[in-house]
Symmetry: C3
Amino acid sequence: MTLHPDRLFPADERTRAIARELHRQTADLPLLSPHGHVDPRLIAENLPFPDPARLFVVPDHYLTRMLYSQGVTPGELGVASVRGEPSEIDGRTIWGRFAEHYRLFRGTPSKLWLDHTFAEVFGIYKELGPDTADEFYDHLSARLAEPAYRPRALFERFNIEVLATTESPVDSLEPHAALAAQTAADGRAWGGRGGKVVTTFRPDNLVEPGWPGWHDRVEALAELTGEDTATFDGFLTALRSRRRDFIAAGATCTDHGNLTAYTEDDPKAAAEIYARALAGEADEAEILRFPGLMLVEFARMSVEDGLVMQLHPGSNRNHNEWLHAGWGRDVGGDIPNATEYTRALKPLLDAFGNHPRFRIVLYTLDETVFSRELAPLAGGYASVFLGAPWWFLDSPEGMRRFREAVHETAGFYNTAGFVDDTRAFCSIPARHDLARRIDAAYLARLVAEHRMTDAEAADVAVDLAYNLPRKIYGLEK
Amino acid sequence: MTLHPDRLFPADERTRAIARELHRQTADLPLLSPHGHVDPRLIAENLPFPDPARLFVVPDHYLTRMLYSQGVTPGELGVASVRGEPSEIDGRTIWGRFAEHYRLFRGTPSKLWLDHTFAEVFGIYKELGPDTADEFYDHLSARLAEPAYRPRALFERFNIEVLATTESPVDSLEPHAALAAQTAADGRAWGGRGGKVVTTFRPDNLVEPGWPGWHDRVEALAELTGEDTATFDGFLTALRSRRRDFIAAGATCTDHGNLTAYTEDDPKAAAEIYARALAGEADEAEILRFPGLMLVEFARMSVEDGLVMQLHPGSNRNHNEWLHAGWGRDVGGDIPNATEYTRALKPLLDAFGNHPRFRIVLYTLDETVFSRELAPLAGGYASVFLGAPWWFLDSPEGMRRFREAVHETAGFYNTAGFVDDTRAFCSIPARHDLARRIDAAYLARLVAEHRMTDAEAADVAVDLAYNLPRKIYGLEK
Amino acid sequence: MTLHPDRLFPADERTRAIARELHRQTADLPLLSPHGHVDPRLIAENLPFPDPARLFVVPDHYLTRMLYSQGVTPGELGVASVRGEPSEIDGRTIWGRFAEHYRLFRGTPSKLWLDHTFAEVFGIYKELGPDTADEFYDHLSARLAEPAYRPRALFERFNIEVLATTESPVDSLEPHAALAAQTAADGRAWGGRGGKVVTTFRPDNLVEPGWPGWHDRVEALAELTGEDTATFDGFLTALRSRRRDFIAAGATCTDHGNLTAYTEDDPKAAAEIYARALAGEADEAEILRFPGLMLVEFARMSVEDGLVMQLHPGSNRNHNEWLHAGWGRDVGGDIPNATEYTRALKPLLDAFGNHPRFRIVLYTLDETVFSRELAPLAGGYASVFLGAPWWFLDSPEGMRRFREAVHETAGFYNTAGFVDDTRAFCSIPARHDLARRIDAAYLARLVAEHRMTDAEAADVAVDLAYNLPRKIYGLEK
């Protein structure tokens, strides 16, 4: 498997030549990763990665779900059962099963990312398959044992300028504290404000009273902050206090994975539901309403402390009940559904959508809103920006459709730039390269069709790859 | 009208050359037609086809609806009025009217199919129009009188391996019995298990209590099976009995054209509604709920007997009341509406979505669910596969959008391959050729953009055209 | 900034050559503008245009909303505050602010239209930006002072055959009366039946009882017509009377901007709600229901008087409350939402969808209905035609998606052709040229892929650009 230098560029030679030149101007720009799920311990501890199966396959639900969709169980792929049932523990066996089914990924982004990673990061220029599985396993294992493949060495080699992780308000932030105490070779601190690794404030598990363990987390929040979370005011004060801690740990953003984009500006109702939820008396409608009330509270806090909001609604979590019951959350069992933004966000936008100190980045799994709702909202409110195509849409065709549907109404400058959204650290360069190539391809088409000049396109390409995410996610200073 | 050998391939020469080569590898593969509406009497009786107008125009609502949309009434096209009003009976006059309006179909799949059929099946290489209408009529009439244009001769010439028809549980299956008793030149039986023509179990008119004649059909089901359909248990037993008969007549699949994808796993509620419906006491909500309850009952039966389920929701039947009142069902008056799958299918998938003996193929008329719901479901459940773009989406652009929206999340191997879904027997080769060309075009783009290798694409092309439908619709043995 | 002769054509040379030839055949056809918002006083009075900022920037919410989305307030752009707060009055300063932010429009239709207008209408072949702002302002100002840049001179130069404006039933139609009294150099009257400038009957502000000033307008309608609008019958009679006046002022169409496509055929209910609304007693549900009841009343009138209906649902007006409160209606604060047609239109179509004297043109801001609802409706009802992609979809990509999604089901002949829908008179040629180029590009792809012949495509191109709008909007006689 060699990586073709023109991969992902349009076939038409005229357009391809333009895309090639545009990509050349962004290919070596530093990587900004303002939204992701890498474990901060990885960089804080800088231990070697585990074996290839545990690095690449076991934790990546993009991969395990595809194999599962063809009958390979999570247990056969080494995913730990929540019921304590046995699951495969031999890395080489798991890897072999994966290699045997690698054909399922033909033409998918997962394969594009992996092939890029195998080649560019690990120097393997073959095609993974049953015949080469062991050779890959041995080669990867050998590399992973070398100092040059420790997380920090890769971080530097990948040219990552900032990597944001995601933590709950009840997370101790200890890995971030450790990172803040350490200085990299370039003189920048590994963590803390302006550091290379920063956190993101993600309060989902504190605003969904129906999520198992909610009462414990509300208690933990009280302990961490010394505030009395038995009242709604105390709860808000405690959250504000944690936001200050997160900002100290480098956070520039919050992130919100609500089921819907529903918002409501009614602190009194929020306080009442909070009290009823604490007492175990909230009904289902109240439990669904509370996160929407809290979104407006968080927007209020953002106006105060400057954290940029990110909203990712529309994922029906744990839809596959058999997977959920057997292997827990985040194993690929979520399914999107239609998501409405225009009416749902109006209360939040009425309150803060025109406020010069407020900024919200919207994502979606429902591409029908690209042209109908998101582009008009981003092109009509000073505070609204559009996040990169997310999850199932983080793909060549998904990104292309996003640009085609959004750009003509919202322009390029109301879009926030690429985020890799990944927990697969080694895939970060592959993901950014793919995004930069697809943007180059789209811009090249506009140039080839005389809808933009070369100079404009070059300017926009650099803005999309670097300047816009830097500015919109607050990474400038 | 000559058929250009590069038709439907991308204009870019690099991509076109790849598409041409990919198509070459699938062009001569046998045709599998696991989902269609050809009348089994056609093959069982092997009589000559009627005149060109009655063969091509009168029964094809794709054609009559387009002419109707420009003011030509069904009666002028020979469609029989349900009120006994006169309709055109002269074939040549009908054909002339059709030819006069053939320009309405410019660039549409209907025209691509017809032009292919005129040329490849009937050897006419001209453009149909007012000037050539009579010439076409004479030429086609002459051909249709020849033995080589009898249905079975065409069946062999078309290289059809299996053709599935669609019958209601109260259908006698007599034509299939006749077919099962006859052997083709290649030694295979014309009908029965493993035969060339098989049936499909489609129980829609038994699960919609509001469909006129429902009580009579429930009665007929009792007579056909000797079961007592006065109870819900007897109704289910009778359906199971008919499924065995359908399996004997070659069926490998069921088909379900519910209004929505709503499902509910509650046999007790199903029994209650059934009783109320029998008594004529079911209200509208119950009548709408019953098909969703029955879907889960049918899934239960599929786990037992291995029939593959197919679900086609989302068509608002007989929307054009004037057409419906005047010319009956299935004359082109149906209009789709938005269709939700994620929540609607959860009860069925909770029950059987991870069962190794269960398989369901999902279709849609609402392409907004391609990337948002269908691809994630097919890529997240072992039992779910995606059917070909259906009806209004069975077109070059519809197929392209399907691949672009689905493939990156579900891969190619969770899609079930092409089905022609047609009652127009002579158009079957044209439809399969079109689908194979569009898949070749899509794969060629992936190759040209270095997202797949040539070898992978060739492998996938053959899988999509032959191996996948053979396996997923249970035609392997 | 030079306008490339191949702009908006596909990059592939084979396809581009076909597109170039197709466009050549439509480029010089007269412009039909059957749906727009130019002020008729402009042509009636034929005064010089104001300064460049007031001509191009201040009234164009496509431009002001984009600048606002990046923090430039409407007041800074000279939009008048409804609260009497100061707003910028210096044209050159406004123009400078616009030029400074012109990069926001890179690749958007707004920039394509403006660059075309600067070059082709005003002879400026530079790129607008901070460095050239003054040069543009001086050049444009000088041109605007010349007689050749008066509205009527441009009207002739633009080769406009018919321009429709939009008026409320309570509009005096005085400018149209003035136009009807004047004859152009080509001997045609400037206004009146068959004139160059005609009106369109748009009753929105009379059918939304919740719209401020409704009672006054109902009163004004009584005064204008001498009918007693205190009863629903009188209201309908008055509207019929005004329709006759509009027809005398050249109207061939009505236009309806309802929030949804909801229709209901129940004159009795309409009368009751009307009475309650007059008495100030209508509740919110009734206020939302009334426009849908009135749509069927207007359809009934159209069957009588032949006016073609146009329906534009789905815009959530004045979504940005801060903009609305500060700068009023129509300043770019509207946001679309999902819009259902299949069920909503059934009552209207049951009543008139198959009537030979009824015609309705449907538009949408929700492109998900292109293939799912609109194309099947247009391809299934004799009375239904599809309007051009509207507003946020009036763009190269939006038009392309419209053709791709609609054409295969509805054909070309159930689409009504381009409408510019603009109040920016000077941009009319640019908008039509863009639409003709995109249609040429789409047709060229069909030809290059051997889905149509050259001759068919040339025929269709001319039909789309001229013959279809002429016929469908009733401009033939």
